[in-house]
Homo-oligomer: 362 residues x 2
């Protein structure tokens, strides 16, 4: 069943779950299948931002945050760890902050952006693959029959991943992603995906960096899908992006070295994989972590369990008017266990509706 | 044969070669076996540094470099890529420089430092493992019979690696390495291993950073073996260290999250693995790369093949008086193919004897 896409790292349920999270394709399929009934209202998303919510005070580093508990907790934490002589002072090199991407820095509804990329790529590549007309899951996807895609199961998911993310060089893939994201638009709002980022989180990233933090993305999404645009959009350079990835192979092509993307999973950087990705790439434990779903739980636990001052924050999608409202029952970005643990452990929970003046950049 | 230490990534010769390079244990064995005949003179190493070689001119960023071709090439390259308006100007974020460690930043003779760590750890752990008295390769190692260690072959190498590098948490291992390296001394010079670093390379690292470069280590050595001390010794933080690594597993222990080091190879960051490690960790191609052996060839090729200005440098161990002299026939740090390619492609080759005033810090 998995002969074409071997994964030595995970097996069974964990592997299936991770694949779903990474590519988002099964979720995509589920979502498209149930469009209009499973999703909460997203009509408000076209409003983009509250009028009057974004006029920054001159000295305010977080103008899009209401003056509620989460903002107070953030500022109090940053002042505590940056005050010289304080018992909670943290030296600059140890000020590591990790951020989930989907649902924490940008919108993940109605489907993960990377899932939309897969759909679009299959359509673009179809003329070069006449066999896809009769080969599942490509045939169903090309006909818009998402139930057919779902019916093929995990094997189909992996074939979509392999067809769109592997078999090319890393540079070819980066160009493809860069070209796509420059023009691809959100299916509901019509905005560029890179405009569907959260203004308060952009301010938070900048605020932390101003205070000596190094900001990292730690996402279940593909590392090579994010790196072409994170520096421009978030100010986070490629070397500070951690994500799921496939194996690479060094080859010579006409005397020039290339790195080929292989159809074999290297790391699924989600759930238990997030602390693994953090250790692999960063090599020290974050003192602050930011997520929005159960996929972020282990990262939040890992950051919180270190010694000294710690900050863990969950973005709770509570705003059906301006964005989406979803948590325990959502297929995308399910927030269940982590919400319970946040209450138990006193982690900061942001209600997008109550705590953010603005959702998206103007 | 490999059941206890599965490696899905490499097989056969490449895997054996990589393991040897990584742990250095087989090399250690070979070296100890042939001590006194295979090695070139190292008697001069105890001299440490040339008198009068290190008095820096006030404005000289590279005082330990003679005013020969390599130094001129370095300065010319840095001035070229940092001069605003120049056609060869490289923006700061793209100024990525990667350095091999063993033999490029610190001494690797007569054995890799990590191999010495393995020997010392086996001795320390032996009382907890009475079975090692009769179990190979531990029995031979404990009796100082390195021929016996060699006789066990690859299986023995992997068992030594597993016994000393896995089965503990990442934090436990980091503490063990940190404690060891604080006191472990070079078998010939009696200096701390961290004092057997190359003064000219320390100056080069600082010079590049002063000019906006981000400096990374890309080593065949273990990533978790290097991270506990690279910031202190080289000014390179853990998140800028790329190396070989084993797989990690997130677990809860008494309610606290830990990352366990598993006896399974994740990446052998040597030869073809170096560009893979670079892409995985950095996500962009270095514009400058520094190595000393055939294990660095692919990294040098990868850096050199990018567009725009490029700099590739090989440290050639030519100084039997002050350090060691070895290249094409050495078991440790063999430099054969890469030396040929350097000549063909015009890469810079540093002769330690001719181009460095000082080898080690005073």
């Amino acid at each position: 069943m998995t002969s074409g896409f071997p994964s030595p790292r995970l097996s069974g349920e964990a592997r299936r779950r991770g694949l779903i999270r990474w590519a988002g394709t099964a979720v995509l399929a589920l979502q498209l299948t149930t469009l209009g009934c499973a999703r909460t209202s997203d009509t408000g998303a076209t409003k983009r931002a509250e009028p009057g919510g974004g006029a920054p005070a001159a000295a305010d580093p977080l103008p899009s945050w209401n003056d509620t508990a989460p903002r107070k907790a953030i500022v109090e934490f940053v002042e505590r760890v940056t005050k010289p002589g304080s018992p909670d002072f943290v030296p600059v090199p140890e000020r590591i902050a990790t951020f989930d991407n989907d649902g924490t820095l940008w919108a993940e509804q109605p489907i993960y952006v990377q899932a939309q990329f897969i759909v679009d790529r299959v359509k673009v590549l179809a003329p070069q693959h006449p066999e896809w007309k009769t080969k599942e899951p490509f045939a169903s996807l090309l006909q818009g029959d998402m139930k057919g895609v779902v019916a093929v199961g995990e094997k189909g998911l992996m074939e979509l991943m392999a067809a769109t993310h592997t078999g090319m060089t890393t540079e070819e893939f980066a160009r493809t992603v860069g070209d796509w994201i420059a023009t691809a638009r959100h299916p509901k709002t019509g905005r560029l995906h890179t405009e569907m980022v959260y203004q308060p989180m952009l301010e938070l990233l900048a605020y932390l960096r101003t205070n000596g933090f190094k900001t990292f993305i730690v996402s279940g999404g593909g590392i090579e899908f994010m790196r072409p645009w994170t520096e421009r959009v978030y100010g986070i350079p490629p070397e500070q992006v951690v994500g799921s990835n496939v194996r690479l192979k060094f080859e010579m092509r006409d005397g020039m070295p290339v790195l080929m993307k292989l159809p074999a999973i290297d790391l699924i950087d989600d759930q238990e994989g997030k602390p693994v990705g953090i250790e692999r790439h960063i090599g020290r434990r974050p003192i602050a972590a930011f997520g929005n779903s159960d996929g972020d739980l282990q990262m939040l636990q890992w950051a919180a369990a270190g010694t000294g001052p710690r900050f863990s924050l969950i973005v709770h999608h509570t705003d059906a008017e301006r964005e989406w409202a979803y948590d325990r029952d959502s297929h995308v970005g399910r927030l269940d266990r982590a919400l319970g643990e946040a209450a138990t452990r006193g982690w900061t929970v942001v209600s997008m509706k109550d705590d953010w003046k603005t959702i998206f950049p103007k």
